[in-house]
């Protein structure tokens, strides 16, 4: 079967849409393979706009790993904006990949990476445009196997009827295993059809096939149990963990788009996992244990990546980058190596301590010192004990004073609103903290024009966290607290004029909450919203709260449940949660105990530096924390270029 590029049909539409360059492909380091030379073909989607999806590390890594296999082809596709969607429908152009502009429906597998639940409606658009039935049960062997991955796949129940499979955890090895199973099945002549290949995937214990499980409900609407409905299918599905990051130095050839994207830099993941134990943080819980990339592995990835991309900035990525056991050596080594090449280094800095300021100073020694970001998350000391973000106000003031004394002019602070047990006073403390930051900053810098920006997000309880049982705060309460906070910030103009406040209203968070902790019944809501035109729910200009609440009421009321039941209702210890059969390694009893500790305002130490507190992940997964120090150093690579991190002897002979 020869698959033609749809580009000739797409091209005449492009002058009529906004930012057409996002649909033409041709990124640096993209791979285009011969269709007929390959056996297994993946279309990989990040279900958001190209500018958001392209820099996604997960998709980039899987794309490269799959394309390294000689008989495997992987291409990328992204959500098209409504202007192009309409034209594609009018002119009968299917969902296409940006690499070969091949129709997504022609691939063997369609992998969708969900960083957030707000991409669900975009997946439905893509399936529909691709001519793939949106319901998994309506698909035949002619359709791709639709596989969900990413953090949201840890509770894929809301999209259970739309996906054929879901993979929990790290994808590097999982995609290879899936590829192998599909390759063998195809080579055998597809015995047993679609059911058989899905069963073979389920048998591995690491791929969840929702249709092979039945959900039974209690009369009050809660789940009674979730059980396999056929042989060869395990009761529980486990997450995947890639242990040795140095063995997986991807992306080796990061993609560089022609179009502008949300991250104009290349990223090197310096470790995976986090042991800080912030109770709200799903990423920190589901990516355990901590696995560090070695200092030498990081140095090599930065060097090769800069040569391959020409980016001016490198982000050292992780959930809490300052926690790498050799972070000081890494930052100093890289800063030495790239001195004079106009190469910026950045560290997503969330830890609030003076050490972090030292790191930031090192990284910015050749460049500008604009803003530093810290994430206290909770406004009051009490709140921070509840969420297990152990930082005192004195720490913060000491840290920001050091920052301002070192020439930094702006501090950005991240907080959440709507946390469990939160009262108005906890949120109003944020204003006090910001004012104290301005006072400390003025004193430390001797200038009046220091700035503090407070950025506040609505808290959404997530599966596989100690807060999975918590009642989500209703949007009216969140909005009311934010209004009071704004008044408190502005109450003293001499300080308030140096404080910026950024926040969103609480409504989108409630919908995110519905999708995060929803079960299979929420699938009907997603479909109804999508059929009514719901698209790009992560974008305020497209998101419609009224549409979501309206459809939720329509769909859920006949089932005896409602939006509040899924969101603002606190769950009890013995309630069967929709994701209980999906194993992130975390011991449910430990999660419950940690939830009780939260309510008692008791903190939990970090297992990276203190003894194991038995969250359950390492014994359940057969893993262990993998941290340094290795004691190695980065050897400065000399000479590096002038005005460029690359030296080209053909141009200059000095």
């Amino acid at each position: 079967m020869t698959v033609e590029s749809v580009f000739p049909r797409l091209e005449p539409l492009l002058p009529r849409v906004s930012k057409p360059v996002q649909y033409v492909g041709g990124e640096l380091n993209a791979t285009l393979k011969d269709w007929d030379e390959t056996t297994v073909r993946w279309a990989l989607m990040y279900p958001d706009a190209y500018e958001v999806g392209l820099p996604n590390q997960g998709v980039m890594i899987l794309y490269e790993i799959l394309n390294e296999l000689p008989d495997v082809l992987a291409e990328r596709t992204y959500a098209v904006w409504p202007d192009l969607e309409q034209l594609m429908r009018e002119h009968d152009v299917p969902q296409f990949t940006v690499d070969g502009h091949r129709p997504v429906g022609a691939f063997d597998l369609f992998g969708v990476s969900f960083s957030t639940e707000l991409g669900y409606t975009n997946m439905l658009t893509a399936l529909d445009l691709a001519g793939i039935p949106i319901h998994a049960e309506d698909r035949t062997e002619d359709h791709p196997i639709v596989v969900a991955g990413g953090h949201a796949a840890f509770n894929p129940e809301p999209i259970a009827q739309f996906v054929d499979a879901a993979v929990l955890g790290d994808g590097e090895e999982a995609v290879l295993e899936i590829t192998e199973i599909v390759r063998t099945w195809k080579q055998e002549g597809c015995p047993g059809g679609r059911d058989e290949v899905l069963t073979r995937l389920a048998e591995t214990g690491g791929v969840y096939i929702p249709r092979f499980y039945d959900v039974e409900y209690l009369p009050d609407g809660r789940i009674q149990r979730v059980v396999p409905n056929r042989e060869r299918v395990p009761y529980r599905v486990f997450k995947r963990t890639t242990m040795d990051l140095d063995a997986w130095p991807y992306p080796k050839q990061p993609l560089v788009p022609l179009a502008e994207s949300v991250h104009e830099r290349m990223s090197v993941e310096i470790f995976r996992g986090c042991t800080r134990g912030c109770r709200f943080c799903q990423a920190g819980m589901i990516t355990r244990p901590v696995r560090e990339r070695s200092i030498e592995g990081i140095g090599a990835m930065v060097q090769k990546g800069l040569e391959a991309t020409g980016f001016e900035e490198v982000g050292l990525l992780s959930l809490s980058s300052a926690d790498h056991s050799e972070i000081a050596q890494i930052t100093k080594g890289l800063a030495d190596r790239y001195e004079g090449t106009n190469t910026g280094l950045s560290l997503p800095s969330t830890r609030v301590d003076a050490f972090n300021v030292d790191l930031a100073n090192e990284l910015s020694r050749n460049g500008r010192r604009s803003g530093l970001t810290f994430a206290p998350e909770g406004g009051s000391e009490r709140m921070r004990r509840v969420i297990n973000k152990m930082v005192s106000e004195e720490d913060l003031i000491r840290t920001v004073s050091a920052a301002f004394a070192n020439g930094w002019r702006q501090v950005k602070l991240y907080f959440m609103c709507g946390l469990p047990t939160e009262e108005d006073e906890d949120v109003l403390q944020i204003a006090e903290m910001a004012k104290n930051v301005i006072r400390a900053g003025r004193q430390a810098s001797g200038r009046n024009d220091v700035r503090c920006t407070i950025s506040i997000g609505g808290f959404v309880p997530k599966p596989h966290t100690p807060f999975q049982w918590a009642a989500q705060c209703d949007p009216d309460t969140v909005d009311d607290r934010l209004r009071k906070l704004r008044e408190a910030v502005n109450s003293d103009r001499s300080l308030g004029r140096n404080i910026g406040m950024r926040y969103h209203d609480g409504k989108p968070s409630l919908v995110e909450g519905l999708l995060s902790r929803g079960d299979r019944r929420i699938g009907h809501v997603i479909e109804a919203v999508w059929r009514d035109g719901g698209r790009f729910d992560g974008w305020s200009e497209h998101f419609s709260y009224e549409r979501w609440t309206g459809k939720a009421a329509e769909v859920l009321e006949p089932l005896g449940v409602d939006l509040a039941w899924f969101t603002t209702r606190e769950r009890e210890e013995l309630e069967v949660l929709p994701w209980d059969h999906l194993d992130s390694g975390l011991d449910k009893e430990w999660l419950w105990a940690d939830w009780q500790d939260a309510l008692d305002e008791r903190e939990q130490d970090d297992c990276r530096w203190t003894p194991c507190f038995d969250c359950g992940v390492c014994p359940a997964m057969g893993t262990d924390i993998e941290v340094g120090p290795t004691g190695k150093n980065l050897i400065p690579i000399t000479p590096v270029g002038k005005g460029s991190p690359v030296r080209n002897p053909a141009l200059t002979n000095t």
Binding site: P15, N342, G643, S644
Partner: protein, 258 residues
């Protein structure tokens, strides 16, 4: 410090890049190619790259110009080869010269364009062009960020004629390969800029000409108009010769094909 002047193209699907896309892509390619770029001083250093005009998004070009400054002497041809290899196919570096002084911007006051109108017959197009050229003033509306703006297209158009061409291979659909009209026009660079789109809107204004599919425009050359209405190559002085050069012939244009 050495200053170099580059002529490059924007071909094929790369025509959908905006000027900002091109600028970013260029700066990254300069770094990958190991060009010893000079950087501006100050708080936020930028590589010294100065752009001379830019073809609009959606429009292809055979003649875009940019100047770069380097801190070490480089051979212009070596730079051309290295940079061309580092840039995506479609952005092709055609020529690099060492600047012999003077101001490049002042050597450019007009462009010649080739606009392919699929589905419009050469006769229909020629009639519209004739009517347009006979007028002294043709007002069209353009949507800008600040709302609608009326501009007079006619004075900017120095010359315009029509050529016939069988349909471009990129649009090849069975039964559609009838000849299409190609508008060849030289447009003076005035303020506000008159773009190929504005000329097409003017043709719609005067002759109701509406192409069934979006037209494909390509800038063929830029330069200073001489008394005979021809464009003088902006690099002529840098090359040390004063030869004038007409617009490159259409057949030389290579479409990027992948």
């Amino acid at each position: 410090m050495q200053k170099l002047r580059l002529r490059y193209t924007k071909r094929g699907r790369l025509r959908f890049t905006s000027h900002r896309d091109i600028a970013r892509t260029f700066e990254r390619a300069l770094r990958r190619a190991g060009v010893p770029m000079a950087y501006s001083q100050g708080f936020s250093p930028h590589p010294k790259v100065s752009w001379v005009g830019a073809a609009p998004t959606g429009v292809a070009s055979e003649a875009e110009y940019v100047e770069v400054s380097v801190v070490e002497q480089v051979d212009p041809e070596a730079l051309r080869t290295a940079l061309d290899a580092a840039l995506p196919p479609g952005i092709d570096v055609i020529e690099v010269v060492q600047a012999a002084g003077g101001n490049l911007t002042e050597r450019i006051d007009a462009s010649s364009w080739r606009v392919e109108l699929d589905g419009v017959s050469p006769e229909e197009l020629a009639a519209a062009v004739e009517r347009f050229m006979a007028l002294d003033q043709v007002l069209v509306e353009r949507l800008t960020k600040d709302g609608k703006r009326t501009i007079d297209v006619r004075p900017a158009v120095v010359s315009a004629h029509v050529e016939a061409h069988s349909s471009d291979a990129g649009h090849d659909e069975p039964g559609l390969s009838q000849p299409c009209g190609i508008l060849m026009t030289v447009v003076r660079q005035v303020t506000p800029t008159v773009r190929p789109d504005d000329v097409l809107n003017a043709l719609r204004e005067v002759a109701d000409l509406v192409p069934p599919v979006p037209a494909k425009a390509t800038r063929l050359a830029q330069g200073r108009l001489d008394d005979a209405g021809r464009l003088v190559d902006p690099f002529a002085q840098d090359r040390g010769s004063l030869a004038t050069q007409g617009a490159p012939v259409a057949g030389k244009q290579q479409e990027e094909r992948r």
